[in-house]
Every structure is written in structure tokens, then in C-alpha cells.
């Protein structure tokens, strides 16, 4: 027990990095996903195709590969050739990747709204922006809540991939402790940390789903 208490401060430090990446990714990837989803359903074919290709590439390759590419590969690309620090590189890779997934979730949500809702709004004189903001999006949010919740919980666990960039997130901190102390207890504690984060998210999303269920 004393051992567990002694490692908790270090593991909490690791968790801070994990959570920092998690929150920044969510805050940037969701708007990116919404934006891409609107491109994906626009009437402009070229835009639709470009976004479809983007989604295909980002969903079709491992996040780990994308992470390594952004960190180690970008400096070698002509013209762009930037060298990012480990944290910005991780944020960029995660936002690009999760943006693609959120795009598909929002697109499915948009397309699930019956055509009649758009028509009713039109006969009431609402313009495109009003229709989207006041009629369509509130209904889309309700539909996409379960897949978004799923994706968000996956993200908590995916943050552990940054361990390949030698960042001291929760998982890497844990592994260091295991190797230093020849004790597997840190693995158990790390599992509990991840479970607590997932539990809080699950609780939050359940609350949201209840809130949106009031009109069923």
C-alpha cells in the first residue's frame, strides 16, 4: 500500500500529459469534423471528393504510423519541412486522425435527419443557416451522441500511443516505474486511472443522452 501511495504523484504527473492531449484533441477535432462533414455533403463535387480521400487515408492507416510520420517524417518533406516538438506533433496527428472519424460520424448524423425536416423549415421561410442551427443540428447532436461517446473513450486510450515519442504520459511513466522497481503494481494502478477517466466520460455522456431523450 505504501508503495502504491509513493508512485501516485508520478503517475498523476503522467496523467496530466494524457489529459492535456485528450482535451486539446477533442476541442480541435470536433469542429474540424463538423467542418469536414459539411464539405462531405456539399454540392461541390471536388470538395466532396477531396474530403472523402482525406477520410480514406486517415482512417485507412494506423494512428501510430501517422504519429511517427508527423514527428519524424515532416522535417523531410520539401517546402513544409517543419520540425515539431513532440507535444505539438502529437496534437497535430491526433486532431487530423480524429477529425476524420468525427467527420464520418457527423455526416451519418446529418444524413439521418428526414428530408421532411428540411422541407418544413423551408416552407416556414427559414434560410440555410437558420435551418441548420435551429432545426437540424440539435437533432444531429442527439443522434451522434452514442458514437461520439464511443470515439471519445477510444481517444482516452489512444493517447497512450504518444509513448513512442518518448513523452512521459501515463503509460510511459508506468512502464518506467515497472522497470525501475521490478514491480508490476504500477500496471494495475494505470489500469485504474484509465478506468476512472472512462467512467467519468461514460457518466457525462449518459447524462447528455438523458437530457436529449426528453423529447422522445
Amino acid at each position: 500500500m505504501d508503495y502504491i501511495i509513493s508512485i501516485i504523484p508520478q503517475m498523476l504527473m503522467g496523467t496530466v500529459d494524457t489529459l492535456r492531449l485528450f482535451f486539446i484533441t477533442i476541442v480541435l477535432a470536433i469542429p474540424l469534423g463538423i467542418f469536414l462533414a459539411f464539405c462531405r455533403v456539399s454540392s461541390f463535387k471536388l470538395l466532396r471528393d477531396v474530403v472523402a480521400a482525406y477520410v480514406y487515408v486517415l482512417r485507412g492507416t494506423p494512428l501510430m504510423l501517422q504519429l511517427l510520420f508527423v514527428y519524424f517524417g515532416l522535417p523531410f518533406i520539401p517546402v513544409i519541412g517543419v520540425r515539431l516538438d513532440d507535444f505539438p506533433a502529437a496534437v497535430l496527428a491526433f486532431v487530423l486522425n480524429y477529425g476524420a472519424y468525427f467527420c464520418e460520424i457527423f455526416r451519418a448524423g446529418l444524413q439521418a435527419i428526414p428530408k421532411g425536416q428540411f422541407e418544413a423549415a423551408k416552407t416556414l421561410g427559414m434560410n440555410y443557416a437558420q435551418t441548420m442551427r435551429r432545426i437540424i443540428l440539435p437533432q444531429v447532436f442527439k443522434i451522434i451522441l452514442p458514437p461520439v461517446s464511443n470515439e471519445t473513450i477510444t481517444l482516452v486510450k489512444d493517447t497512450s500511443l504518444i509513448y513512442v515519442l518518448a513523452m512521459n504520459d501515463l503509460l510511459r511513466t508506468t512502464r518506467n516505474l515497472v522497470q525501475r522497481d521490478f514491480n508490476i503494481m504500477p500496471f494495475v494502478v494505470a489500469a485504474v486511472f484509465y478506468l476512472v477517466m472512462s467512467m467519468i466520460l461514460t457518466y457525462g455522456f449518459n447524462k447528455l443522452e438523458k437530457h436529449f431523450a426528453r423529447w422522445d
Partner: protein
């Protein structure tokens, strides 16, 4: 006064000609029922009137203002303010299309407040009066999906009326309702007709067409095959297509 004038309306879906050449006029206070077999173009025609479908040829004049016209070269041109003209007509759909995330009262107030920018307090008073009229004032704070189909459709009618339309369009308003719920919706529409609202109703309710309509159009195969008073259409049909249609549904 002439409320709707539609001249030689053509509408194609890809290669399928749904409306071949439709002419229709509606005067103020008239209740026009459009009857006919499914797939005959009734709903499509109604949806052309308020621009839910764009036409491939013809002219539509609403209340003296040109919504869309076609020049001699066949170019169809919608007026710049066509959306504003179109939403002077209230529309009631077969599937109600209420906004499920808003209460009944919010459904009624949404467009008058946010589109017409009217005073919310006044709109609320009018909305409540309309709900009273359709017998649903006690449901004002309910969400639409909690209501029966008939109640939802009456809310939809009230929502359209809350925009103070000159004309009301009904697209098979009772077709997705149980028989026992159609009565309450038809009664609401009948009251509306008695208040001299100008109405165009696509319907399979022959009783309603016969008793409430001032004019009945029989549409099939993309044409208006016959039109006249309900007595003429139901009592003394001349068109062969209409005769067999009436025979098949009155059996």
C-alpha cells in the same frame, strides 16, 4: 380575387415526365381538392406551387406576384424574391414534419419569431389562440412525439397558420393516420374552410372533397383530366379515367 394561377406547368424527374401541362387557378376563399391515383403527380404539383420542387416549364403567379415564369425559349426563371413569395403559403405534410426537439408551443413560435421577427409575446398569444382553436392548448408544453398522429397533424396545421399565410396547401394530410384519427384532422380543416381560408388539398378523402371543396380537380398521368364542382365530378363524371377511378375507390 385570384390567389394562385398556374399555367402549363411541366415537371420532369430525369426522363420521367410527372407533370405534362397543368393549368389551375384558385380564387380567394376557394377550397380546391386534388384527387387521383397514386403516382399521378398530385403531390408533385402541390410541391411545385411553393418551390419544394422546381418546375421545368410554365408560370406560377401567387397573389398577383410572379413566382416563376418561362420565356418563349423555354428558360425557366424564378423571381429573386421567390422564397419570400413561396412562404406566404402554409404547408401541411403527410408526415407532419413537426420539429421533435421543440415543444408544441415552440414549434408554433419558431418561424414567426425567428423568420418574421415578430414580437415573441404577441406571437405566443396568437399561438395559444390557434392551439385553442385546434383543441390542443393543454398540450402546449408537450413534445410532438408524445402526441397521437392526429394531434401532431393538428399542431402542424396550427404551426402553418401561425405564419398568417394567405393560402394553405395540404399534401395528403390524413394519409398516414389511423381511420379513427382522420376525423379530428378533417374537422380542423373544415373549420378552416368555414373561416374562408384559401386551400389546396391533395387528398384521398372523397367525403371531404365532396362536402368541403368548392372545386375538385382529377389528376392522372400528368394531366388534369377533369375539373368541376363536387357535384359534377362525383355525380356526373364525364372522363373515362375518372369514372373508373371513382368506381374503384367507391367499391
Amino acid at each position: 380575387m385570384r390567389k394562385i394561377e398556374a399555367k402549363s406547368i411541366c415537371k420532369k424527374f430525369d426522363d420521367l415526365e410527372v407533370l405534362k401541362s397543368i393549368d389551375m387557378t384558385v380564387d380567394e376563399g376557394e377550397v380546391v381538392a386534388i384527387i387521383g391515383p397514386s403516382g399521378g403527380g398530385k403531390s408533385t404539383f402541390l410541391r411545385c406551387l411553393n418551390k419544394l420542387e422546381t418546375i421545368n416549364g410554365g408560370t406560377i403567379i401567387i397573389d398577383g406576384e410572379t413566382l416563376v415564369s418561362t420565356d418563349e425559349n423555354g428558360n425557366v426563371r424564378y423571381a429573386d424574391n421567390s422564397s419570400r413569395i413561396a412562404c406566404r403559403m402554409g404547408m401541411v405534410f403527410q408526415q407532419f414534419n413537426l420539429f421533435p426537439h421543440m415543444t408544441v408551443l415552440e414549434n408554433l413560435m419558431e418561424a414567426p419569431v425567428h423568420v418574421q421577427k415578430r414580437n415573441p409575446a404577441e406571437v405566443q398569444k396568437e399561438a395559444e389562440a390557434l392551439l385553442e382553436k385546434v383543441g390542443l392548448l393543454d398540450k402546449r408544453d408537450q413534445y410532438p412525439l408524445r402526441l397521437s398522429g392526429g394531434q401532431q397533424q393538428r399542431v402542424a396545421i396550427a404551426r402553418a397558420l401561425c405564419m398568417k399565410p394567405d393560402i394553405m396547401l395540404f399534401d395528403e394530410p390524413t394519409s398516414s393516420l389511423d381511420p379513427e384519427l382522420t376525423g379530428e384532422v378533417l374537422k380542423t380543416m373544415r373549420n378552416l374552410a368555414e373561416d374562408h381560408m384559401t386551400m389546396v388539398v391533395v387528398t384521398h378523402e372523397m367525403g371531404f372533397a365532396r362536402e368541403v371543396a368548392t372545386k375538385v380537380l382529377f389528376m392522372a398521368d400528368g394531366y388534369i383530366q377533369e375539373q368541376g364542382s363536387p357535384e359534377e365530378i362525383f355525380g356526373n363524371p364525364k372522363n373515362e379515367r375518372l369514372k373508373s377511378f371513382l368506381k374503384s375507390i367507391l367499391k
